[in-house]
């Protein structure tokens, strides 16, 4: 029969399938701007843009970010924080895909009422957005990006720190701090000597794994093996067998919780009853539910002190619950609230410096004001250093105990 035809058809389908692998980024972008605009005469509306994964496997974190920014905007309006200015939020969904993030950035830049953006969640997405915001002079504050290169340039590891984008700020601590903190905990507190390092090949995961490896070796520990896994896959039994055969006494994973939970599960099923540690990407209830086997003893570091334990956070938690959001504030709620509040404070400063009116070059004024603001936020003192990084260097190690994350050590990072 039409063999030749079939074959060329098959070839075409295979090519399409390969294309589909790289082009999974289709679907909804949520245009939902709250439309309570400036009906009230003299009031100016300022939009705080939000970019986070609102759908997909990281949507739990993204929804927490979106709601927390919304809470900050509403609080500012209620308290009349900036006279004559009403804040609204413009949330966009990036699906954790860099290309989508860039489109969202372009969209946010085009809206003249947007004076600051909170987001994104993923370091890889941030890379694709930074340039767009820098060109438009629009302030961006990420509550969750931890990759050092975003604020300190590509050569940060060699000590040549160079801020690539003047408009980029973050309320999260960098991976340098987090990865080294994790290595110090594993080596000094948990007394681990032989670690197996796995990462997910993404900007965040690979960066964190590299920093961890350097610090662990510097402290005198041994890295008995390394491997990489692919995001969205579920079968890591090959890696799990390798970990077991390597004789490692611990695993470090640079990546996110969906893969982290499965990896932990499969390592334990392969017969290696050793703890797995990761960064803030795995510090999520999803890490525990992703794992069928009990993963008690696994560890995760996260930036800041536990929101529930900070006195400054009590009001946030109370207000968040009172606002009745459908999704919890998750790991980055407090940082998102602080990020949004930083933008609000910068707008306030810009307005005050301009005799109570929003200046005509509002975006530039907000960027200038960002480096000068300082306030007591949900997560502690909020201010930014010369690279746009948070000056807050508090971290916490969490451990899975009886199926829930419990904080075991909170400290300020020591060099």
């Amino acid at each position: 029969m039409h063999l030749v035809k079939h074959r060329s058809f098959l070839l075409l389908t295979t090519a399409l399938a390969t294309g589909a692998l790289t082009l999974t980024a289709c679907g909804s972008r949520d245009d939902g701007k709250d439309s309570n605009d400036n009906g009230g005469g003299s009031k100016t509306t300022v939009v705080i843009g939000v970019d986070a994964p609102l759908t997909g496997s990281l949507s739990a974190l993204g929804q927490g970010i979106k709601n927390s920014v919304d809470l900050a905007a509403k609080t500012a309006n209620k308290n009349n924080e900036v006279k004559g200015v009403t804040f609204t939020t413009g949330p966009l969904d990036d699906q954790a895909v860099p290309g989508t993030g860039q489109q969202n950035a372009t969209k946010l830049v085009a809206d003249k009422n947007v004076l600051g953006v909170v987001g994104p969640l993923n370091s890889g997405v941030a890379q694709s957005m930074q340039g767009v915001f820098a060109k438009a002079g629009l302030t961006e504050v990420s509550p969750a990006n931890t990759n050092p290169a975003l604020s300190q340039g590509d050569n940060w590891a060699k000590g040549e720190k160079n801020r690539p984008f003047k408009t980029y700020f973050r309320t999260a601590t960098t991976d340098v701090i987090q990865g080294r903190f994790a290595a110090q905990y594993y080596h000094n507190d948990a007394k681990k000597q032989k670690v197996f390092v796995v990462d997910d090949k993404q900007t965040y995961g690979a960066g964190l794994a590299t920093i961890f490896t350097q610090e662990f070796k510097r402290l005198g520990g041994e890295v008995v093996g390394t491997d990489h896994l692919t995001v969205k896959e579920t079968d890591f039994s090959g890696i799990a067998n390798k970990i077991k055969n390597s004789g490692a006494d611990s695993v470090y994973f640079g990546g996110q919780f969906p893969e982290g939970g499965l990896l932990s599960d499969q390592v334990k099923k392969a017969g290696a009853h050793i703890p797995l540690m990761g960064g803030d990407g795995i510090y999520d209830p999803g890490f525990i539910s992703a794992s069928g086997e009990s993963n008690d003893g696994d560890l995760g570091t996260s930036v800041g002190y536990p929101v529930e334990q900070l006195p400054s956070a009590q009001t946030f938690v109370k207000n968040y619950q009172a606002a009745g959001y459908k999704d919890p504030y998750a790991a980055y709620g407090g940082y998102s609230y602080d990020a949004a509040w930083a933008i609000i404070q910068a707008v306030k400063k810009a307005v005050e410096d301009n005799n109570g009116k929003l200046p005509s070059n509002a975006r530039a004024a907000v960027v200038d004001a960002m480096s000068k603001i300082s306030f007591d936020g949900v997560t502690g003192k909020v201010s930014f250093d010369q690279y746009g990084d948070t000056t807050n260097k508090q971290l916490t190690v969490y451990q899975v105990v009886g199926g829930v994350w419990k904080s075991v050590k909170s400290a300020t990072f020591q060099d």
Binding site: L21, L229, S237, K242
Partner: protein, 310 residues
């Protein structure tokens, strides 16, 4: 090389799973020459069907007893969706240029994902799937079989045998072979080809549900996106084995599964290849294998059986 047996066992379990899904691609292709790219989503929906049954049963029912019902529930859901897809998405396009049903399949796949995402309770993140707890069975010192892998290792060959028997021996199976060979002549001989095509989709759907339960047991979770990668890998397995050939689909699956686990373990031990080994490169090596096989045998391992496609 002491880890070789374990690598083979892990690869076999993974490959049996790919093979079960590949059956769905190969059956449909064998009869209507359509690559049903929505088949990965049929798997996913079967998983959610099975999970629904588990949640509906009282928690006191042990998993072993619930499993047949879960398989039944999953199969009913998958078969219903697969046959509905055939009836409403593909049949109107029969006779249309080949690209039309292909694009429809891709569209259907996105639509099915979004429907589950939007309407299944709490499906925006992974839903946990029940697992058999307990330690792995130790065969010898260095071979362990996970309890949750046992299901796929038993179910896949059983399903395969049943299907082989059905296609070769039963009257309907012979009608299937006839339709695959030449639909027009088969219709003239009194075969209801529309019914045969629906049946091909239904069998693919039932196998998809078995695969979904196997995947749920292995990973301990299912999510609305799970069909994409599974579907892609199974499609690869079907091509590797010779698309249109049911035994080829199973063999292709097993070869692909073992290629993945073996390349994770061994490539990096080859001197000079350290950077090209490990889990990050396993898909590359699996596709290198596919290309090599297709260069040497363009019809796939067992051949595209043109004369006897079903």
């Amino acid at each position: 090389m002491h880890e070789l047996p374990q690598t083979l066992v892990s690869g076999l379990a993974l490959g049996a799973l790919y093979g079960l899904i590949a059956i769905g691609y190969t059956m449909v292709y064998g009869i209507v020459q359509l690559i049903n790219f929505a088949h990965g989503e049929i798997v996913m929906i079967g998983g959610f069907g099975a999970l629904t049954i588990r949640l509906w049963l009282p928690g006191s029912v042990p998993l072993g007893a619930a499993l047949p019902l879960m398989l039944l529930g999953g199969a009913l859901t998958s078969v219903a969706v697969a046959t509905a897809a055939e009836r409403f998405a593909y049949r109107p396009l029969r006779g249309a240029p080949r690209l039309a049903p292909l694009i429809t399949a891709i569209g259907l796949s996105i639509a099915l994902q979004q429907i589950v995402w939007a309407f299944y309770p709490d499906a925006k993140k992974s839903r946990s799937f029940p697992q058999f707890g307990g330690d792995a069975f130790e065969i010898t010192g260095n071979i362990h079989i996970q309890r949750d892998d046992l299901f796929v290792l038993i179910a896949a060959p059983l399903c395969m045998l049943a299907l082989g028997f059905f296609v070769a021996k039963s009257r309907t199976g012979r009608a299937m072979q006839a339709t695959a060979q030449d639909p027009d002549t088969a219709r003239l001989m009194g075969v209801n080809t529309d019914r045969i095509i629906v049946l091909a989709f239904a069998i693919g759907g039932a196998f998809a549900a078995v695969a979904a339960v196997a995947q749920g047991l292995r990973a301990g979770q299912i999510n609305f996106e799970m069909g994409f990668i599974l579907g892609l890998k199974a499609f690869t397995a079907a091509v590797l084995g010779g698309i249109g050939n049911i035994y080829g689909a199973m063999l292709g699956g097993v070869v692909l599964g073992i290629a993945e686990t073996a390349s994770t373990t061994y490539i990096q031990d080859i001197p000079g290849m350290q950077q090209l080994g490990g889990g990050g490169w396993k898909d590359v090596w699996a596709f290198v294998l596919l290309i090599v096989v297709l260069l040497v045998r363009p019809q796939g391992l067992l051949g595209e059986r043109v004369a006897d496609r079903a």
